[in-house]
Subunit: 500 residues, 2 copies
């Protein structure tokens, strides 16, 4: 048994090394790769991915798992050993049930669709993208059927990103959330708007960079095991637990982009940096799910970074960096400005009050498309109707509507809900931390994030991917994913800012 476990770990470690090599290739592609190197990079990544697939899905891995499962009773249920076998089994089933023909067709379809989507968005021509979207939704429906029987055809898609979570649960959560969130947005819209014009002055990019570095260093971002670079689309890349890199973008005419983007990515990175080193080079050496990951980025970006105590500490330093732009802007005005609520057509620009509405709209459409109750050709109309209903305005064109996101062209169906779930989980965790660390606001007011990070490390980060998301949220907060704390949070925060 010891030998079999050792053998499995050796195979998984090699697979992890190949994943990490691919991660560096991906990081480089988005940061420093020369433009003319794209074709060769494609070959390198494809060879690595094929090797990962071949090594991981080898029948011998299945035999090792079967042998280990027979003896799993010897391990405690929460032990690294028991969880490693369980999580590896889950991944093994996922990867071996799907035929290689399907993988090949899906890769082909998404590779083609990506270029067409980019052109369709640029030309505001949904018709161009439509046949590709039809093909991708059809392929994802086929994918779901590899895992039949299921409660809902969307379940296997969701499971790719949130292991164990069911469509019915997400629908119930969103049904409870949506009317309340719509109501808050409407209430805010009826009040006088706050001023945020000062955020759009000219801000020196190097000073923005330096301020971001100062903030995340204070959070606990470990520069011995990470670095920050520029990229058009900010992202976090783990190249193994010892090397967790982030990127940011700088906009000389909009302070928020780098400011909150940097904190967001640092939140993702702190999660990876806090994982138990004993889990390194295994499938457990990552966050538990996309929603859990997003809960960490959102916690540092919003619950810390857009809070009043945070700015009570940092605002003098920011004013010192940008005296011309901010000397006449009071802390209160600044705080209200960065928390301004303004319904927009574009998800990635959305504020905390409206963001989840963008997500719920996408989930409803995805489910209807996978169920077959909505046709791709009717998608723009359905999109615009929901925008009108939830946010009060339909976009003027499809480029700013149904074509805005890359996800569908990449085949990422089942991914969107994780963004909203991450927001909900972040506040559930936040409420719990504030019970355990009652003077947390004072600590933040002093720029002290040590107790906060310790709490997160011990209860969440350390465990990596050992637990499934719902199980983990329950361990952390005492209940499964629940929208009530998020609604309480929005009401309290915007109640104060907008005088609701």
């Amino acid at each position: 048994m010891e030998n079999k476990l050792k053998e499995l770990r050796t195979i998984l470690a090699e697979v992890a090394d190949l994943h990490q090599a691919a991660a560096l290739l991906g990081w480089d592609q988005q940061t420093y790769m020369p433009v003319g190197a794209a074709e060769g990079r494609g070959f390198q990544l494809s060879t690595l991915q094929t090797l990962v697939h071949t090594k991981f899905t080898a029948p011998h891995v299945g035999e090792l798992l079967a042998d280990l499962e027979q003896q799993a009773g010897q391990w405690e249920a929460d032990s690294n050993e028991a969880r490693l076998v369980r999580v590896t089994r889950r991944e093994y089933e996922k990867r071996t049930r799907v035929t290689s023909e399907w993988v090949s067709e899906f890769t082909q379809a998404t590779t083609n669709a990506h270029h067409v989507w980019a052109a369709a968005r640029a030309e505001n021509d949904f018709g161009k993208f439509q046949p590709h979207a039809e093909r991708i939704f059809e392929l994802r429906r086929q994918y779901a059927h590899f895992f039949a029987p299921f409660d809902h055809v969307y379940d296997p898609l969701l499971d790719d990103f949130e292991p164990g979570l069911k469509t019915a649960e997400v629908q119930a959560i969103f049904e409870a959330l949506r009317p309340q969130q719509v109501q808050i947005v409407q209430a805010i819209a009826s009040k006088p708007q706050v001023d945020a014009s000062f955020l759009h002055l000219n801000y020196d990019e190097q000073k923005q960079w330096d301020f971001g570095v100062r903030v995340i260093s204070q959070f606990g971002y470990d520069w011995q095991h990470g670095r920050q670079d520029r990229s058009p689309h900010p992202f976090t890349q783990s190249i193994g637990l010892q090397d967790v890199r982030i990127t940011t973008r700088l906009n000389a005419n909009y302070l928020n982009a780098a400011l909150f983007g940097t904190m967001h990515e640092a939140g993702h990175a702190l999660y990876e940096m806090g994982i138990d080193p004993a889990l390194a080079r295994s499938p457990l050496a990552s966050g538990a799910s996309l929603a859990l990951h997003e809960s960490q980025s959102r916690l540092w970006e919003n619950l810390v970074g857009r809070s009043l105590p945070f700015w009570e500490h940092f605002y003098p330093a920011l004013q010192e960096s940008f005296p011309t732009q901010l000397k006449d802007v009071s802390l209160e005005r600044f705080y209200k400005g960065i928390n301004r609520v303004q319904p927009s057509y574009i998800r990635v620009e959305a504020d905390e009050a409206t963001y989840n509405l963008h997500i719920m709209l996408r989930l409803e459409l995805e489910i209807a498309l996978v169920e077959g109750t909505l046709q791709v050709k009717d998608l723009p109309e359905a999109w615009n109707a929901r925008m009108q209903e939830y946010l009060g305005a339909a976009p003027p064109n499809d480029a700013e509507g149904v074509l805005q996101d890359i996800h569908w062209s990449s085949g990422l169906i089942g991914y969107f809900p994780t963004y909203a779930l991450g927001n909900l989980i972040s506040v559930q965790i936040w409420e719990r931390i504030n019970q355990d660390v009652p003077d947390l606001p004072d600590q933040i007011r002093r720029g002290d994030f040590a107790a906060l990070l310790s709490w997160l490390r011990e209860k969440l980060h350390f465990h990596g991917a050992k637990f499934e998301p719902q199980e983990l949220v329950e361990r952390l907060t005492g209940s499964r994913i629940d929208p009530a704390p998020y609604i309480r949070y929005l009401k309290a925060k915007y109640g104060a800012i907008y005088g609701l």
Copy 2:
């Protein structure tokens, strides 16, 4: 046959992809990797290297080669197909003859030796390094015997870096070269020294960088398929033919470091960038040997970059970049300064006139150690005696003597001669180009490098690793490696500068 060739190409392409992924990991390690990521990077590289070895040395590769060799008569001798089979066979024999036990012991020995060497150099304590050097020379001797019978025990070591070249040939070349080169150095030493003090003023690093970029852009370095970064030790890294990166180091108090370092690395890169794209993802997609590679870096650095016509074009721009430092330095004084000859203890700081003497000393010692006619414990004494004889001064300590270079601690025995051979080849090629392009000095005086690069691309770069070094030099210049042109070059150049 077509199918077997296709199959071999597919395997070699996958091996090349893995090599390229490892190349990026290596590039990153020396440029941007966080310091705390070293252990994980070691695992990643080791897993990739093991995979490369397993894939490349599979018995099936040997069978494919044997089948293809039987039918090789159908291809022209210089065709890509015939050469691919031949070069792959050579590599296959190299890799399969050596036992995995030896590889494991060698890896272990060099990993240990590297740290000890660094400490020994820092503490100026050869005794500390001695047992490790003994082990490494013993292992390399064992390595040679995997390839018995041989004319000379050093042949298989040299062959790792210069395929097909024999120890006796290199010895004959160096025997002819050494007395003449010693004589030139002695003649220079008897003349008044030129002034180079202005090279050691303070030079803004960004302006040094910009000037280097301007120069190599004009050479033809392709920024669509490359980039330059900073690193402590400058190097060129090919991550496939579409992605050939260089690094440079900047020294605020010494103009030469970046100036000639950048041209040197660009020379290596231009070689890789000029390889026939049809050879991509195969063992032919690299330079023909280390000496051929060095001939290209030295050609651009020295024969172009330290020439008077080059500075007739670029010196006004350099003066414009550094008016304070250079306004009172005439072109003639500048040209003499950058070509100052000054025997030194350290190889990497050596000028063109003394450099080869450092190499010849190392080769003689390596051969004696591998033959067993010299013992490692007697190495410092032998080193210092030769320094006295060739360069007129023994180093004051072993740190600046026998311990200065990293090569032996890394197991790179057989590597040193390639530096000197590269110098010789560079002038052989240069004489030939000047016959074919008689107005080349005028073109360089105008800053026009197009004809030069075209010549090199067509006759040398394009062929990649299809030909062995001696064969290639003969094709290029009409004779095998020959020291006479280099001696002519040194006499003419330093005759003019020092009035010999």
